[in-house]
């Protein structure tokens, strides 16, 4: 197995493809050239920056710096969850619910994986901890965002149905059971589809990366399977906690539907 390094001139040659796209946009008047170049530049700078940050973190070998980096990743992902909501919870809940449930789920699953399966030495070794947390975080974030979005939409559009169930004497969890089911299935479907398609329709990115880096394919596949399990677990824990938390927040102890706790609620 071998690893072929690429250098700056290789990157410049590849960037010609983006430039070619820009020329096409100009020729056809698509108005995308500026955006295209700008986002390509942004991508380059962001990735270079994260490359240097990771190199520095790996060299420092500090548990505290690793933890701070992990929390920063969670904080950014939490903003992304909030940004993806059409109807947010009011106040601090808008950021707090998605972020705290994602933090709990992703951290528990990452620590579980590091201490019992992957077992690097030390267990928090940033070279393992940060990429694994990143993969779990990305998927948990998507799951929680979809789950909360489906929940708030389902409660708003299905308000008459939920209130009918409440009026007929169901509890707040009984009356929202059909909405909970929809929210969890939309949260989990990307992960389920991802597992079903892995290896046939798509070659997962991490495995592909390891193969390019010279890892023996069956070894890379074993890693990928492990990661898939971790992602499925993290997404399920996170989505269940976030959606149940959302239901708790959007109902009260007298089992009333409280859509007034959504931001800019009209009623």
């Amino acid at each position: 197995m071998s690893y072929v390094s690429i250098d700056l001139s290789d990157l410049l040659i590849a960037s010609l493809l983006v430039l070619a796209n820009g020329v096409l946009s100009l020729l056809f008047g698509l108005g995308l050239a500026k955006k295209l170049i700008w986002s390509a530049l942004r991508m380059t700078i962001q990735l270079l920056a994260i490359g240097f940050v990771l190199r520095w973190l790996f060299a420092m070998e500090s548990p505290w710096l690793t933890l701070i980096a992990a929390l920063a990743m969670v904080a950014v992902a939490g903003r992304e969850i909030m940004a993806r909501q059409d109807r947010r919870l009011s106040g601090l809940w808008a950021y707090g619910l998605g972020t705290s449930t994602m933090l709990a789920a992703a951290m528990v699953v990452t620590v579980f994986a590091l201490t019992t399966q992957i077992r690097p030495d030390p267990w928090w070794d940033p070279q393992y901890a940060l990429p694994i947390l990143g993969m779990i975080l990305g998927n948990t974030m998507t799951g929680i965002a979809l789950g909360l979005q489906t929940l708030t939409r389902g409660l708003e559009r299905g308000r008459a149905g939920v209130e009918a169930r409440l009026a007929l004497g169901e509890t707040r969890f009984g009356a929202t059971r059909h909405v909970l089911r929809d929210a969890l299935s939309s949260a989990l479907i990307p992960v389920i589809n991802g597992m079903a398609a892995a290896g046939i329709v798509s070659l997962p990115g991490m495995m592909t990366g390891q193969i390019l880096a010279g890892v023996e394919p069956v070894e890379a596949v074993k890693y990928q399977i492990l990661i898939m399990f971790l992602i499925a677990g993290g997404t399920a824990f996170g989505a269940i906690a976030a959606v149940l938390g959302g239901i708790m927040r959007l109902t009260d102890s007298r089992h009333r539907l409280r859509l007034d706790r959504l931001a800019n609620a009209r009623s």
């Binding site: 299905g158 308000r159 008459a160 149905g161 939920v162 209130e163 009918a164 169930r165 409440l166 009026a167 007929l168 004497g169 169901e170 509890t171 009984g174 059909h178 007298r254 089992h255 009333r256 539907l257």
Partner: protein
């Protein structure tokens, strides 16, 4: 006998309201749109936050778990809500409703119908049957005949009257003065500032 009592009940709009309804009685609420009649019924069922208290047989609603309270003091919206595709999913206990279904001209076959194919009148009648199947002690009806023709409206009045004879108390929001005269033991006329009670002989 059961007795529903409102104590200084106040919703987001409308005046404070204190009154009581005995078992078998029917209090009809009248008043212009926007005066808070629906909100009042929702507050009595504790579906909205509100000031004041409601007691059933001397027991405050706050002393009873909300789901249990709502099964006893049951609110029926003008447009009943549905949460599943088929009518039958909304009736957990199909055995007990055959009689009421037949009174309204339905058969058990209707439980296999799709909710989105129902007419608004069918929805309203099925919503009432669904509520009655829980045998509430107090029924809160929000314009229960708004979408019905006069024949079906009369069926509704008859069915409610037969449940009243078994001791059910009724609060009935109606826009029809003639209907109010037919079904009420008392009429309460609401305005933005006051509530005036009237006994129907």
């Amino acid at each position: 006998m059961q007795n529903l009592e409102l104590r200084a009940l106040k919703t987001a709009v409308g005046p404070d309201l204190s009154c009581s309804i005995a078992a078998g009685e029917c209090l009809v609420l009248r008043g212009p749109s926007g005066v808070g009649k629906s909100l009042l019924l929702r507050a009595i069922a504790d579906l909205d936050r509100h000031e004041g208290d409601v007691l059933l047989d001397g027991v405050s609603q706050d002393a009873v778990a909300a789901p249990l309270w709502r099964r006893k003091v049951l609110y029926v919206a003008t447009e009943p809500g549905w949460w599943s595709d088929y009518v039958g999913d909304h009736f957990p206990d199909c055995g007990g409703i055959t009689g009421d279904l037949e009174k309204f001209g339905f058969t058990l076959k209707c439980l296999e119908w799709r909710v989105d194919r129902l007419s608004s009148g069918e929805r309203q009648r099925l919503g009432l049957i669904r509520a009655l199947s829980l045998r509430p002690e107090v029924l809160l009806l929000d314009e229960p005949t708004a979408t019905l023709d006069s024949v079906n409206a009369e069926f509704v009045e008859d069915v409610v009257a037969s449940h009243r004879r078994e001791g059910m108390a009724v609060l009935w929001v109606s826009h029809d003065e003639n209907q109010a005269r037919r079904v009420a033991t008392h009429i309460l006329r609401l305005s933005a500032t006051e509530a005036v009670a009237e006994v129907v002989s």
